[in-house]
Symmetry: C2
Subunit: 195 residues, 2 copies
């Protein structure tokens, strides 16, 4: 399954494309950050995001789009721009017959690192490990977009997004990330014992 993940934003909109094979092994296809100038009129910024995203969808042909669910409670100053960018992303996907799955930041962190309270550094480190990258994906928006794509590929859709609200996701067995995380911790403990 090919998933295109989007971490929406007006100034920086992260986009990451990941393939997940039948054995849940994730591979990097593409990653980029769409940037728009804060000085541009809002409508031109959204058009630029829509145009670049359409090109990425047409170039990489994902089967599904995974988008971060935006909450009005957080970051009041930037949330409207983030929601407007999300609207443009949702429309671009639907125009190509693609469905969009919304995942909360907590769901994404839990899927990728094994705990929902992970910080940005841990998410970035796990994305690098999961995708077997030589360097950490930067900036954070790029890592978050990849984490979203991986999360969706591993967890699947939490269901239709039409309700617009949070919904509980049933407990699932350990993800490859959780297993990798545990293996890494075990290896680190073993190294400490060696010293």
């Amino acid at each position: 399954m090919r998933v295109l993940g989007v971490d929406p934003g007006l100034t920086r909109c992260g986009v990451g494309v990941v393939d997940i094979d039948a054995r849940r092994r994730a591979s990097l296809v593409a990653v980029t950050v769409i940037r728009t100038e804060p000085g541009l009129p809002l409508e031109q910024r959204l058009l630029a995001i829509g145009t670049e995203l359409a090109e990425l969808l047409d170039a990489h042909r994902p089967q599904v789009v995974a988008l971060e669910r935006v909450f009005a409670q957080h970051n009041l100053r930037t949330v409207m721009g983030t929601a407007q960018a999300s609207g443009v992303v949702l429309q671009a996907a639907a125009a190509r017959g693609l469905s969009v799955a919304l995942h909360t930041p907590t769901e994404v962190k839990a899927a990728v690192t094994g705990h929902g309270g992970a910080d940005k550094k841990q998410v970035t480190a796990m994305v690098q490990r999961i995708l077997r990258l030589d360097a950490a994906p930067k900036p954070a928006d790029a890592a978050d977009a990849l984490a979203l794509a991986i999360c969706h590929g591993w967890r699947g859709s939490p269901g239709s997004v039409s309700d617009g609200g949070a919904r509980s996701v049933p407990e699932q067995p350990s993800t490859p990330a959780q297993e990798a995380w545990r293996a890494a911790e075990k290896a680190a403990a073993a190294r400490r014992l060696d010293r």
Copy 2:
């Protein structure tokens, strides 16, 4: 000047097109409400709004789009959908080379009725009077979209929308609505004296 006003929303998105002549006389060109089913996936609802709005822009060829400025502070439950619909509207306008002016509800009410605290009934009544309509425009979303278009035609743009924040608009001389309102009040007072 031809202005297309949009009162954004997922379930009901009001669209009103108004011509304003050199003497600031406003005339109705078209009014409609784009509706989408709450049961549809979010991405399909936004695509439907974008598609219908594009058709209206192409059919009526306004010179500018006036859009209600959405605040994150209000209506937390629906604000994200409203902002996403706004994003789609902004992009559709920019794709046609049109600029978008954002006006707050208070600015719109003040321009159309003469006072920023007017209720929906007063706004609808003044829109009907200003456009010389036989019946009141319904539903409220349709009246609000027409009021936005009239507001923009009379007040002009409060400036670039790129700052994303509220900005003060200099005091202006009486609008035709304010004059009409005063004339109506005077007439009503005269009628009361006649009795």
